[in-house]
Symmetry: D3
Amino acid sequence: MRPSGRNLDEMRAVSIDVGVTKHAEGSCLIKVGDTHVLCTASIEDRPPPFLKGTGLGWVTAEYGMLPRSTGSRMRREATAGKQGGRTVEIQRLIGRSLRAGVDRVALGERQITVDCDVLQADGGTRCASITGGWVALRLAVNKLMKAGDVLSDPLAEPVSAVSCGIYAGQPVLDLDYPEDSEAGVDGNFVMTGDRLIEVQMSAEGATFSRKEMEQLMALAEQGTAELTAAQKAAVA
Amino acid sequence: MRPSGRNLDEMRAVSIDVGVTKHAEGSCLIKVGDTHVLCTASIEDRPPPFLKGTGLGWVTAEYGMLPRSTGSRMRREATAGKQGGRTVEIQRLIGRSLRAGVDRVALGERQITVDCDVLQADGGTRCASITGGWVALRLAVNKLMKAGDVLSDPLAEPVSAVSCGIYAGQPVLDLDYPEDSEAGVDGNFVMTGDRLIEVQMSAEGATFSRKEMEQLMALAEQGTAELTAAQKAAVA
Amino acid sequence: MRPSGRNLDEMRAVSIDVGVTKHAEGSCLIKVGDTHVLCTASIEDRPPPFLKGTGLGWVTAEYGMLPRSTGSRMRREATAGKQGGRTVEIQRLIGRSLRAGVDRVALGERQITVDCDVLQADGGTRCASITGGWVALRLAVNKLMKAGDVLSDPLAEPVSAVSCGIYAGQPVLDLDYPEDSEAGVDGNFVMTGDRLIEVQMSAEGATFSRKEMEQLMALAEQGTAELTAAQKAAVA
Amino acid sequence: MRPSGRNLDEMRAVSIDVGVTKHAEGSCLIKVGDTHVLCTASIEDRPPPFLKGTGLGWVTAEYGMLPRSTGSRMRREATAGKQGGRTVEIQRLIGRSLRAGVDRVALGERQITVDCDVLQADGGTRCASITGGWVALRLAVNKLMKAGDVLSDPLAEPVSAVSCGIYAGQPVLDLDYPEDSEAGVDGNFVMTGDRLIEVQMSAEGATFSRKEMEQLMALAEQGTAELTAAQKAAVA
Amino acid sequence: MRPSGRNLDEMRAVSIDVGVTKHAEGSCLIKVGDTHVLCTASIEDRPPPFLKGTGLGWVTAEYGMLPRSTGSRMRREATAGKQGGRTVEIQRLIGRSLRAGVDRVALGERQITVDCDVLQADGGTRCASITGGWVALRLAVNKLMKAGDVLSDPLAEPVSAVSCGIYAGQPVLDLDYPEDSEAGVDGNFVMTGDRLIEVQMSAEGATFSRKEMEQLMALAEQGTAELTAAQKAAVA
Amino acid sequence: MRPSGRNLDEMRAVSIDVGVTKHAEGSCLIKVGDTHVLCTASIEDRPPPFLKGTGLGWVTAEYGMLPRSTGSRMRREATAGKQGGRTVEIQRLIGRSLRAGVDRVALGERQITVDCDVLQADGGTRCASITGGWVALRLAVNKLMKAGDVLSDPLAEPVSAVSCGIYAGQPVLDLDYPEDSEAGVDGNFVMTGDRLIEVQMSAEGATFSRKEMEQLMALAEQGTAELTAAQKAAVA
């Protein structure tokens, strides 16, 4: 029934290659099916101005899509002169999600910027960015710990994210682009272990019941469990 | 226990005054406690370009805060040269929420722009904007129907929204600013009747369980029911 | 002869409600007929950089119109990405006018920003902004004096403003929108007591004589006297 | 008493050289003392969109200062990314002033853009721009009439402008920069023949009486009469 | 003598992988040593407006660097709100270079946009972009020809580019970043077969002789011959 | 054969008037045929931030065209909100070229900004800007030396620039606009004495041989020798 032939609760194939750029303190290329995102984590020794003297660190994120990561070429945001509303929304979500899994006292007064750049898009880019972004962040933090700059580990369980939605009347896990563009209801779920960090369910031109909400929630728990395993394997 | 002395499941006082500006096709001033939002609905006879010839109408929203609607003066976005990320996120949410309650075929090829301008802020401005925005939209649509420009009513049940969160370890309904700035977890719930339109729960530097999610959900159902009654009374 | 039925030298009804927002140090809602402007004064303890160390204070102003304050919806300036030429011109005028009535030594090294936001427009918004802006400023200064932060009163007589023009061949006082859009010549007059602060007379596609200039000037003196009385009553 | 040694009612030396660029339909270099402005008039065969089909023409103006036209180098507005408030105010004034002297029906559906670029500044650049701008406009219109594209002359008497102010307690004509930066009150007067087009009197941190206003007005009449003679000689 | 241990006339290893994204009509990932650039070619059926009705096609290019493609993180241009001067210069060069190798009549009224996004930078990114950009363009044109949309091949010999410079007093081929940042003189040479398309030699804080210019030119001929071979192998 | 009737190796008439503005530390108006550029050099006592404490000075340049310097009016860049790609490219070239002729240690920790504003354009504006810009720079440096602020002369031989191209199949010196718009190949050559600073040859939709490159190079050497003589005469 799904365009890809997957089962309702079947994720796409996930791969995470680490250490893909020579400059970044942490990096990975995450592939969730045909969605490919290059994630890098860059450490700066200074925190943002509003945290000066607080002892707290900061993690922030930026998101971008290459102009031809999509089916038809999009205008480059640098040419347009600003980031679009969707981009801003997504990078705020990534930053919030990653910060929820960080002990900012343990991190100390520094900033880590996670850049998530979509090389190829096929639905679920924000979720792949969170999942891959955490891996890049983990690797950068490992470097800080190895160098003795950070003593107590500021990260605990991986943070990962997956989208679910009602497609053709059925709750399905990990929407790809053909599903995403048809689904009346879809949600993004960010989790760490069995705890929730962010739930965003939204109906464009439709509505949904509490029962449907719970069905999607259950699929999401299953999906993030798989992603967590992939993250752990990647950083091992 | 709450700074305002309210019960955990107690909304702030809600008032909705309609017809508050002489120019707009629909308007109201909604007050949810000390949060005051002026909502206007403006009809344009042409749909946006991407809907030309489809027979479908469009509803969109814009959001703004007066510079001194807040405790300390904020920079005016027109001076800054762009809308901030938070503003963009909020106005996209308002637009999506209102559209979910509109039969766009019945509306026909026209556009209604709902402007939500915060005169005074005390938490929950986006929810008040959705609730008041629907009232302004309803009044504008009434005008179209009375004039015979729209024959079948494109609106059904009111769309309303409320925020809930975990404050001092307890789930509470309708966060005001002092609560909102302390809450580790908060959510915005948009409903129409007993159906959900949008759920956004988010933990800044924290996490939450499925059980907590459901407690907040239950409070939200109670809150939006009260708001719906106020909306119906206002447009009667 | 006037669309509103007023006499040639008759002002519209003026009301000034003070203390209309809970956050601002001074605020009022001024209504001059159907022109409604929300004015707030915000105190900052630091002067602008160019006054650091001079012992002088600063008063500045910003002006905005809500998108649907007008007959047809205007584009929001925050969306357009900049303030239009008219807005810039008006807020510079408001700032200059208010400063002319301030003893900047007595004010001391601090800045007061007066925001004038038009909720509903029917001509004469810049004049209403100056008149209401002074009231907000007066209330904010009262607060500083009561707290002992300012010892000698930096404000003297109220600053107020009114527009006059040649409408249908006759000099008239306090143009409303239907008159303003027809008048070939119109002027804005800012006064304090019997002294002038700013005179701007301009002819779009027309010219005027020195005699007409003096007729308008005389009407303006009468109008600002009425406004001054209303300002004094409001802050009493 | 004046820094330049001029009498109170003495203009600076004025020269207007016409035909100074080979491309523009009309052009002049106006020098009012050490203030030098290059004015060009460019004809476009199409009116601006809002006049399409009305039979009316349009005259508009743009103003700029070369970065080192002033005592210390100013930032280039093209680098800053926008025109400053002062620039916008001035070019709106120039456009309004020139249009007041144009019969837009006689001009027909076309647009003339007058560019006023300050090569060297020593006070009074906006007035010199209006005076020189009219000369460039006159020459461009002559070209249209010679070519038979315009049959009835859309221009009548020259439009010219001069500044006056209260300097060291005395009303003086044609302020140069050292006077302008000291004067508490100054005004710009735009005239055509003995009729007024625009009067802008403004007091930065001061006030003025009606009597002073009239003294400045009288000086302005004398100054614009001299300028009108220079304009007529230049275009003869 | 070179930091990399290469001979003076030795290129870095070059690899070109084609078909690396599923959406673009043509694509490759070119690696010149540690400089990695993702090049895509996107076909639009319409030419840019200025070519409408001329029968001519257009090829244009855009260039970007991922924020952490470099040793320290650069600000994202979409966040900065505009493309920097260096970016603009480079993308204009890429576009001009590729167009020089295109028969625009044979291409017909369509536009091909070549996007060159630097994933990892180690000097020579503009040259790698031209070389890889041509490969992406070739593949996109092949697609048009296979589909019968273009009948006569608009491309002839490959267009490729290499940088040379005077490093430590010696002319060297294919500068990497450590060399580039030290070289007083460097040049970029774009060739097709034995013909030149663009030569840009520039001395930052130094000068060079005609003899040195010819030495660099000779190295460039050798380098582009190697690149041409790699391009031909990649598209075979 | 050339539209102007000049010989293939004949420059246009060159004149350089110095001291043309009263404010700038150095200035000239350079005319190369009908191309007229006003060049000013402005001294700032502080270097740009990145040179603080290095003992090195900086020379930078900005370039602009008046809107009607060209055959049809161009949009003002300050109105467009940014400098176009061509402007950015040109001003970077001017800055680089002038810096190559400066001993930045001798200049000391200060910045000189050279503004090149085109009053009238007829081809070759960037070359005229470099040639005239050097004269303005020379005069500003003379002032510093005369005041004893700079002890050892940071400038040596003049820096000058000329364009050459293949026009109607023939190599020609100093392209004017009608030639420039037809030439398939053109180059800009910046020299100081017999040394090269910058060579930019480019073929829009064409290619060229090494032999043609050398023919243009030889013409350029002849042209810059003439310009150098004019520069020396001007500053004598």
